[in-house]
Every structure is written in C-alpha cells, then in structure tokens.
Point group: D2
Chain length 427, copies 4
C-alpha cells in the first residue's frame, strides 16, 4: 500500500501550497457521549465564505471564515463549528433546541475508492479470535478488489495438521480491514476457493433435543459409545463415519465444503462470541456459503472488520446435531464494498439464486425476516411495488433452514435468478 | 366388483355346510358409548372348545360352546361374550374391574387383501365436498391397486370450462372408499397424472401480512387495482400475469402442476372444512405433490375415504399470497394400503426424496414435527438407533416450507434417496 | 313461552285482515350452494310499490307488486326476487354480473327481542355431547334473560355420584338454543353459580413435555406409581392429594371451581371435538371462568347453541399436566345476547377485569391475538385512537396464560376496571 | 475494609513462622488459551508429602515436596504442577492424554465469607455504563451484607433534575464488585428502597407492531402529534398524561416504581448493550422488580459485577410500547451471595411469590424456560420428584409476561408462597 499513500501525501502537499479550502469529500465523525456516527460529507465553498454541502443525506449550510467552519444541519437539529487543519477538521456540535446537548466533531478527507490493481495477500494466521468485535485490531488492511489466501482451524481449534492452536468455539481468522468501507456501506465478499485440507472431521452424535418433538425426546434411547468422527475422502468427494457401526458401514454422503462463520464487527460496540450470529453475519452455518458464493454484509465500523472461520466438510440443513462435519479449511476470498445500501440482514448470491437471510429468536420470526429481506431486496433492485413483488416472490421463492442450533435461528429465502430474467434492474 | 363378491358368497356357502367355526380372520368392532374401535382379529378353535387368538396386538383367550364365544383380553382389562351368526359375531364386552363399563361388540370376516386385476375407474364428479369428514358417503368403492381418472374444480369452485360448479373454499372430489383399509392402516396414493385443463388461474395480489415483519407491513403501500389473474401457457410450460403491469410484462415462471388438497376422513368424527390440514393430510399445499409422487396417509375410518382437490398450476414455497395459481385439474391416481404402520403425519416419496410432513400451529413446531416424522421413518425402515439416524439426518436433510397461510403451518423434512443407498431396509 | 307466542299470533291475525305488506323486520336467509348467510332485514313499503330497506348493513332497493318482491343489493352485486307468503318470503337471487351464480332466498319475520319475565329452567341432562357442532339438536330453547340450572359430568364422563355416564374427553351439557340470537350477534353468558358436587377429582401426574425445556425433559425421571387423584375438602375450601407421598402429605391448595368448556356451535358447519377451542370458545380451560364471570361469544348459527362442561375444582395457569382437578359440577347460568358486535375471539368480564382471549397455534400468536382483542375492545368501547389505547393498555395490561396443552394455546390479556373509570364509554 | 485486611495480614504472618503448608482453602484459576476457570479448592497435607483435596467438585490427589505441588485430577484428565509462594500457587497443567494441551494454573487463598458488620455506602455516580461487561472496572467493592444508596438516570440518560448526563439506551449505575463471589455462585440482591425522584416520565405513543396481529397493524391509523410524556403525582401515587387528549384527561394509573435493568457481567467475555437481557439478568423489564424484591443472579466472573438502572415509574405487562414510564430513580440495595447453586436464569422472591424467569427468543420458548426454571428450583428446594413438583406447579403456578419488546422475550413463572407452607425445605 506504499504507493497509494505516497500518492496521497504528494497531492496533499500540492494542495497545501494554495489557499486551504474545506471543499471536497470528507468523512465526518460525530461523537455523542460514547456513540460514534460516521457520515460521508461533501463541502463546497462558493463565493468567499458561503459553505454548503451534505452530511450523509442531510443538508449542511454554513460559512467558512479564517479557517473556521460554522453551520447548521436543520434536519438533525444540530449546529456545528470546526477548524480546518489541513486534511482534518476538528470541532464540536450542539443541539439547536438544547445547547447543553453537545457533540464532538472531527472529519478527515475521504479517499476516492481504490481502483488500482488488485493485490493477492497470503495471510498465515498465528492467533485466532473468539469474538466478533470492533475491539480486535485488524490483521491486515485490504483495498477494494484485493484477494486473501488464508486458512482456518476447525471449530475446536485444531489445524490441518491436527495441531491444537487455540481454545474451541469457532476460532476465527482475521479481522481484515477493508480500506474505505464506512458504516452504512455494504461489504461484498466473494469466496473464490474453499477447500478441505485434511482427511478428518469431528461432529456430534445426537440431534439436539430442541429440533425434535418433546414426546420423541422423552423416549429416545441415548447411545453411549457412538463415535461421531468422520473420514473425508477428498479424492472421491464423500464423507463416511471414521469408526462406523455395522449398520452405517456403507453410509456415505457427498462432501460440500462451506464456512460456518463469515461476519463483520457488530454495531454499537457489542462483543459477541464466535458462536453468535446476527445482522453482522457471524456463525450463520448456512450450507450454501460455499465456493463461488458472494456475501453482502452491513458495515458497522470503519473498515468493516471481516472475520472468517468454522469450516464444514458438509452440513445438512439445520445443523441438527449442533455440529456439522467440523474441519480446518483453506480459504480464498476477494473483498469489495458498495457505498451505502447496507442490507438489514445478510444477503448472498451464487450462480443460481439470490438469497436473503432471516436471523431471529424463533423459526417463525426468522422465516418472516427472510421473506421481508428478500422482498425489500427485489423491490429495490427491480423497482417493484408491493403487489408486483408479491407476484414474483409467491410464485418462485424457496426457503432453506440454515441452522436451528445456535443462539439465533437462521432461515434463508431465495429466488432463482432464472425467473428474474424478465425483470429490469433499477439503474 | 361383482366377481369379487361372487367368489366370497360361494366360499361362504361351502363353509356353512360343515360345522360352523369361529376360526379365521375377522374385523372386530368395539363401541364404547360413541367411540368406535376397529381391530383385525384372529381366532383359532383348538380341541372342542378352546378358543385363542389376537385382537389387534392383544391376546384373546376363551371358549367356544354352542355357538357362543366367551373370553378375556387381559391386556385391555376386558371380557367379551358373543354369538357366532355365520360370518358375523354379535355380542358385548365389559371392563373386568368395573362391570358397569360396558361395550358393544360385533365382528365380521375379514376378506383377504384384493389381489385381482386392477381396474381403472373414470369418475365424473357432479357434486363437490367442502369438508374432510367421515359423514360424507363415498362416491366410489375401490380395490387396492385400482386407478381413478377424475378431475377437480379450482379452489373457487370453477371447472375446466369456466363454469362455477359449487361454492368456493377448496371444493373436493370424492370421497373414495378403499375396500379393506382399516383404522391404523396406511393409505398409499400414487399420482399417475396431474394435468392442467384450462389456460387461466386465479391468485391473490399481496403476500399475507403474517409472513412478513410487522415493521414492513406497517409501511407497505397497498396497490388497489392490481390484477392477480394468470395466463397458463401449457404448450411452453410457463405462467405469466394475464393483465400485467408494465414492469411485469416479461415476468414468467415455469408451470409445475400440483394438488393442494389430498386427505382422508379425520379421526374421531371431526368435520374439518376443506381449507384445513392435519394428521389426515387435507389442504397440505405442498408444491411437491406433483405427478409421480406417492403419499402415505393414516387411515382413521374403514375405507379411509380419500378426497382430492385444489389444483395449483404452480406454487412458490409457503403459498405466500394465500392462494397459489388456482386452477382446475385432470387427476389420475392409484390407491393401495399397507396393513398397520399408520404414520403420525403424512409422508411422501418421489424418485429423489423421502419426505415427512410436520403440520402444527407454528413454523417452529411444524419444523420439529417434520424432523421427528422423518427420524421415526428412517429408524423403522433401516433399523437405526438414535445416533445412527442422527448421523444420517444431520448430514443430508433438506427442509421445505410447504405453506404458512392455512389454519396450520406445514413444513417438510426430506432426505435424498441417493444417500440411503448404503443402508439396508429392515425386512 | 305460551304467552309470548299467543300474543304474536294475535297480532299476526290482526295484520292479516288488512292488505298484506312486506314492511317490517325480517330475518333473511341466503343460501349459496351449501353456504348459509343470515341477515337482519328491514323492509319499508312506500307509495304503492316502492320497497326499500336494508339487508344487514347493505341497502336494498326494489318493488312490491302483486305479492312479489323484486330488488337489488348493489353493494353485494346481487338481485333478489321473492313472493310474500304471510310471515315468510320465498325466492331466489343472482349475481348481477353473472346470472348463472344463483342463490336461494327465504326470510321470516323477526320477533322483537324478548322482554318478558325471565324464567329459570332446571335441566337434567341424560346424554352428553362430544362435539361443538351445529348438527346437534338443542336440548332446550331459552329466551334472553332466562336462567338454567344444570350440571356436568367430569372430563372422563363420571357424574356427582361416581357413575360413568358417557365416554371421556370433556362430555358436554347442552346445547341450549337462545331464541332471537343470529349469526353476527354476541352471546352473553353469566355464570351465577359454579359449585362442586362431589369430594374427589382426577388429574394427571406429570407436566406435559411440551411445556418444559427439552433438555429437562430428556433427563426427567418418570415416577411410575404416583397417584394423581385429589380429595376436595369443600367445607374448608382446599384440595389435597387423595393418596399423597410422604413429601406431599401437607400440601394443600385452595379450591376455585371453574368450567373448562364454554362454547357455541362453530361457524361454517365445522364439527370439533369437545377438547377443541377457537373463536367459538370451547375448551378454553381458563381459571377465571368462575362463578360471577360473564362471557361474550360470537354467534355463528341461529340460536347460538351453547354447550358447557369440563368442571375443574381448581386449575393452575397453563393446565400444565394436561388435566386440571377434573370433577363434576353444578352449574347455573343466565343467557342474553347483543345484536351484532360479535367479538373476534371470546371476551370475559368479572368485577375486577375486562378479559380478552387470544386463541392460536403458539404462545406467541395467542399473545398477539389477546393483545389485539383487548385493544379492539377498548377502542370501540371508549372511542380511543391508536395512541390513546396504547397509553391505556401499555400502562395497565396483565396477561394470563390460560392453557398450553389443548389443540390451540389460550392467552388472555386483561385490564383492571379501576383504571378505566376515567374513560367515558361510547354511547 | 481496613480492619478486614489487617486481620488477615496478622494471621498470615503467624502462619509464616511455621513451615509453609499448602493446606487450606484456595481459589484455583485455570486458563486454557483465553478461557478462565475458577474453582474453590481445598488442599490437605497429611504425613510429610501426601496432598489431597478437591478442585470444585473434583478430587485432587498428589504430593507436596520442597514447596512443589504435583498431582492429578482424574475426572478432568488433568495433571497439575505448581509452586507454593506464600499465599499464592503458580504453576501449570496438562491433559494426561495429550501433553500438548497445556493450561496455566495459579491460585490464591480464599478468604472466609465476610461476617463483620455491614456497611452502608452512598454512591454518587458520575459516569454511566452502556454495556453489561466484565471489562468495566468496578466503581465500588462491597462485602456480603453491605448496602448501597445510589441513583440512576432514566433510560434516555437524564437525571432527577432534568440534566442529560449521558447518551440514551438504559445507562447503568455500577458495576459493583461483591468480594468473595466467584463464578458458579449466586448473587443475592435485595432492593430495600426504589423511590421516584422527579415528577415526569417519558414513554412512547404506540404499542409495538410485533405485539399485535399483523392484520390490525396493517389498518392501524398512526397518530402523528400524540404526546406520550407522563406526569408523576408522587403524593397521591398515580401517573397521568402530561398533555392529555380530551379523551384521556381523566385517565390515571397507580405508580409502582421498579427497575428495568438489574444484571451482572455476562459469561465468556461477552459485551452486551444495556438493552440486552439473558441468564445474567440485564434489561429484564419486569414490573415485579420493585421495592422489597430479592433477585438471585448467576455469578460469571469474580465479584459478579452488578449493574442497575432503567427506572420505571410503572410498567404494564409486556412493556408494550417499547418504553415504560421512564424516569430517574433513587435506589437502595443490599448484596450477598450464596456459594454455588447459580440458577440457570434469574430468580426472584418477594413476600408473596417465588418467581423464576424464562428469557429466550420467543414467548413460547421463554414460557418453557420459566416453567423449567421454577420446576428445578422447587425440586431442589423441597426435594420433590418429577410427579410431586408437577402436582405443586400445575395447581398453583401463575405466569407473568414481563416484556416482549427487548432483544429477548421475558416470561416469569411464579408460585404463591402460601401453597408452599405444607412442604419442607431441604436442609
């Protein structure tokens, strides 16, 4: 990234030689007690002192005199004052109805979105994270378009060579900081390769009781000495039990490598264990997060902070035993971001489907969330009204139950791209 | 069915010439107040008077003297007395602990399961039923193996020619009485053909509010003049809106004809409207009930009483607008039954999947019901213990949300037959 | 009821001596295939032949000539023709857009609501019903204001003297036909007395597994020989186990007699077993259905057809073991009806609370149903807008979980009458 | 706390004069990667070198030679080695099956539970927390038995004088560190006083859409200019709208001050915003958390770390508008702890009831959680088997819906203490 910053410094010096102006693109940062708000800000100096522009979607009107910015954001009942210091603004704000409600304000020049040649980074993890959190320092800064080749330990902390590297509970690789991504943006992660790197997986022996009728649970006979380890035949593409009972000797099931965990730092300073999932993605445990999928996640902190982990050699719908076929994984992904349009919940796309997640406290609520997430996506993407989107979704939607064993349930509503060919995307 | 009964009468006459004996296969009918209980009964006369056998799975021990049967079913705390009258027994029962608790008892000779040549019946319906109920007289008696060619009006009561034939609400064709099927048996219905017979379907304009987040519902703009009728292009195999908005002009979706309603008479004398569904099947609204599917339903009354109807030209998962593409349908199905093994909820099978229904008051509960129904099916079919069935189901299960808009929610757990090839069916 | 009909006949004769006129109050009955629709109808003859009025809330415009009525109900796209035959009209209808859609039409003079002296009926049941259904002939006709003294067997069919009178499953006393009540009306039942009439109750030993965490269920140790019969000490007002374990010897709990079942015939010809509940009431199993409560139920068929039964000596919230303390009961109730305003679900009232039922497939949905039922009730009763009713309900609502063990869950939202004193009822 | 530590140092010195021995009570701290495990540990030196004891509930067997501890905890497959350094042990551990799995081990002498005179602390908060987290340094150390007098801002951050003190979202007072409390213990908090300290409260105007039927939500007319601020008449004990509409002028509802937030640091390093709730308590929003209540919370980190806040002048069940009558509060509470027996979810007690919380993702699951929490409590407290506890709970349980508007639903199962009088508490 040397060249990039070099260029920037050079220009910056060049600008400094003329009269300093606040005009241009900024990132504004407003702090109210311990709440941080980031907005893209556009300022335009016209005439000698008139300063106008936008902060996020809101209009700013003010003045610039003697290096001092003063102005108002009516729609936020907020006035701002600041001092231009090169490529930074430092100042404060207050509520126009109650002067005692004060904010801190600072801003820095926004760089144009990176459009240089993409780089491929090989990242060798040495420590592993157990939280989705903005408090974890990034392991790598990436530009839009960059690719990362890395790997993850399995859910128990063991790597491709069978070495225990950390404590269990979905240890994560990352976080990766995507330069330029701001809160409200959409992080776009494409998984170029997800490949198994060892010949065994661990799992659990019994379907969790909460996925079954209580009457069945009550009379189920537990099997004490069942071995739920699996052998991964990577050459022929299937898994079978490592030490099967007689009955299960010939049982085999196709490999379909996927990642259980793909997530960004959650909003509001929350710190969730790596078994959690939510609007930020996380432990989504969806068996379509496979090679070739693209995931859209809402950015909540600058840089997004992307974590990946929890490889599964394969996983049935629901992840019914609480563990899929847990294994280490070689991972290659490419990152990008779109300005704004942060989805309410994760969205995904592969060659066949658009997929919208519902993540909630019950299957019922996750189902409604998934339907709504898909409906909103299609409404926006194809400018459909409520009846049109109903005609599309009601004739073609398919639901997947991703998982029902984590702290939140995950249901996906997906629609075949083939039926969308007759619709025109909004410009 | 003339030949069948002719044979029976002939044998009956032959038996009558020797001393009458109660030995043989019977159907026992016990009535306690207004509760009817049917059991297959086997009686064996040994020596002069000793009579032993089974009623259902319970042992009967007694005597036969002077045409009079007396005996005991210990495991039911029940004694029985009856008189043999040719091919009938008439008598009564009482609780051995409380003589005042009396039952009525009668029995008739069970015919061997029909194994003659199957017949194909063309049935032209003239009236249509609005209830799943054992109170409706059957329109046709069928033997195991028989095929019926018939048709159904659409959910609103209109036939292939656009003639309104009855009131709306899923009018049903049937019921069909399957000779020999008894309560506790499994009715097996194979759909040989499901074919569209007209070029239009009706539907509804908006996704039901209960399938969406309430926050979305609250701000959704209703579209007043939207036409949700569909054109069915049977030649090319797709549907499109009959009077589309500009945006929807090129929207088309593949036809996939299915039946919303397949059900038998519910247990216990209940009478459900044809929009209901439950253990008896009914308005299941599952888009895999297509040509080629086989459905297994639990028999609750003699003959089962099969009803079919509610054709859909196609239906997305969940039947989200409350109506699929509702149309009339040409139907051809073949019936059979298996003795006993009535499933707890409907089960289905096609060339690719075993499918087990969960039908309940919420998506959560229907999900658990479907999982349990599939688990029990596989446990029985392949003699799997709780851990083995967990390994199979957790690695390969797929869920379908059939519908969420009827009085009960319907979720299906299905498993690809391909992964079951390594398992041996129980004998 | 002799005097009442005598009076009516006399007037009727008097009218007959003048030219017969269709003017007056009628009950219209429209039949579309097998759907029955009842409406109160007002007809007014003005001039020689002009006939105008209302059917339900819809305007009728037409003519009356030579004993023949012809007219139109625009808002229903329906035309009607009929012949006046004394106190009946006989005729037919058709859709004005599609003449082939025909209806049958007949009407009879509506009697004014009974305002004579109330009667008290002693009703000694001899048979017991196992369905909520309009197919059961009424055991008694009642006028508005009449009181019935009767009794019910316990849920297993046993009476006050310990005699088994019928099969189990909540046998019902009734149905009672309330003269004048029509579909769309509100049946009002006040329970004057609910009194225990024997010293024992039966119950079940274990909390149902669906009311507990599956993890608890999985490890719960079943107790094989536990006796869950109860002794009712009516003199001192408490229950204790009939044959208690040592630990439970001193456990006693206050008696609080209630009825599990209060229901009318369900709509649409459905026939539900007496364990069901729904908009029609039924097996509501709510421990506030005690002496002094008034219940409001929606009338679905003429006369309403009221059933009562399933006495409980007491019941904890939820009816957790699937049975309360089941016993026979002496019952005294008074009936009335209000024209129209049928509630969407049952409502109740006692000296302290207004209570609104939510009956649905899950606790979540029953909770929402109860809240909505209460909100609508208060909105109508006190002319509150959405914010006002929110202020009232959010500050004072209390929820009861009535039961979670029947085919539908029952939750009640209730509000203390004390906080409503500051609000003015709508006129 | 000076005297306390003085005493301890004196004894410590006395011991130091004899040969140092590891015998006695310790707190063991095992660290596996970043997982911390605390156990009470008892060590007993017998003979010259034999060292035996317990770590938690597990047996330790080993030796003590030359200041060096070596031993085994069979039931954890763990061996330990350490060095005694006065009142500390420092060492390490390893898995006996896999030496590469290493732990860090240290221990410190456990102080006897404080039994000196209780102190009352007046704590004047100056900053307010927005997370339940073990990363927040404690504001005060308390001994078992100590009382704290303090206060909280309202949910929006405003204090008794109307001064905004922090950002909104349930700012918390605390955390308070209870000396001696260890993970696995039960924190016991008694609220001696909860008193209003100003005359206004803020709230929200509309019942949240997720608490209502979607059909109602769809047609609800929003009221734009409704003022949902409340006046608190502390003298007469009721609240009324500050600027009521005409209809609501006389509406008043009794004050019943309570705390929405009472919680400890959650387990596993998680950091939840102060709007969350869970096993650790938190934003429980239960209107029985009033003056006189005692709350039992599971301790997850040494000292527990107690936070309080979110005062409500009153709150209806469910907290239906998303806000109760939010106000600042004077708070006085007394802390204690019980060794072990950490409840699975919060429990509460007042003069009338034992109350057990269920906190989960849906009303259904919270209901099951509450029932199970109460059942387990009574089983333990009164040594009841599954049938006995079923008889007690099914006859006397009452449910409260605490709230349905936070990230988890909260339902409470409670039982009147009056019915428990006949049962004997386990010793």
């Amino acid at each position: 990234m040397g060249r990039y910053f070099g260029l920037f410094l050079c220009c910056s010096v060049a600008i400094a030689q003329t009269a300093p102006s606040p005009s241009g693109k900024w990132v504004s940062h407003l702090k109210f007690f311990d709440n941080d708000n980031y907005d893209r800000m556009q300022l335009d100096l016209s005439g000698d002192t008139k300063l106008s522009g936008t902060i996020g979607d809101d209009v700013f009107e003010g003045t610039f005199q003697n290096g001092r910015i003063e102005g108002m954001v009516e729609s936020r009942s907020m006035k701002l004052t600041g001092v231009l210091k090169g490529d930074r603004i430092e100042g404060s704000g207050a509520n126009i109805h109650n002067e005692k409600l004060k904010l801190k304000w600072d801003a820095y020049r926004e760089q144009p979105k990176y459009s240089g040649p993409a780089q491929t980074h090989s990242f060798e993890p040495t420590q592993f994270e157990h939280f989705f959190s903005d408090a974890t320092p990034p392991v790598l800064h990436l530009n839009a378009g960059d690719t990362v080749k890395t790997w993850s330990v399995d859910a128990g902390g063991t790597d491709a060579k069978g070495v225990r590297r950390t404590s269990g509970g979905n240890p994560l690789t990352g976080p990766f900081y995507i330069d330029g991504a701001l809160p409200g943006d959409t992080l776009v992660i494409h998984f170029d390769h997800l490949r198994l790197n060892r010949d065994t997986a661990i799992s659990s022996p019994l379907i969790v009781s909460s996925a079954l009728n209580p009457g069945y649970v009550e009379q189920r006979k537990r099997i004490d000495d069942y071995n739920a380890d699996w052998k991964l035949d990577r050459e022929n593409g299937f898994a079978s039990l490592l030490k099967p009972t007689d009955t299960m000797k010939a049982y085999k099931v196709p490999l379909s490598p996927m990642l259980g965990c793909v997530g960004v730092a959650p909003p509001g300073g929350q710190r969730y264990r790596s078994g959690y999932l939510g609007t930020f993605g996380g432990n989504m445990d969806y068996n379509q997060v496979r090679e070739g999928v693209t995931i859209y996640l809402p950015v909540s902190v600058p840089g997004g902070l992307l974590f990946v982990g929890d490889g599964h050699a394969l996983q049935g719908a629901g992840e019914l035993t609480g563990n899929a076929l847990e294994t280490s994984m070689d991972i290659e992904f490419t990152v990008n971001y779109m300005v704004g349009n942060a989805p309410p919940n994760p969205r995904m796309e592969n060659s066949d489907y658009l997929m919208a997640s519902g993540i909630a406290g019950s299957v019922d609520e996750a189902f409604r969330g998934a339907t709504t997430n898909l409906v909103r996506w299609l409404e926006t993407r194809y400018k459909l009204n409520a009846a049109e989107v109903s005609s599309v979704v009601s004739t073609a939607v398919v639901y997947d139950v991703a998982e029902v064993v984590d702290p939140q349930v995950h249901v996906v509503a997906k629609i075949p791209k083939s039926v969308l060919l007759g619709l025109k995307p909004a410009p």
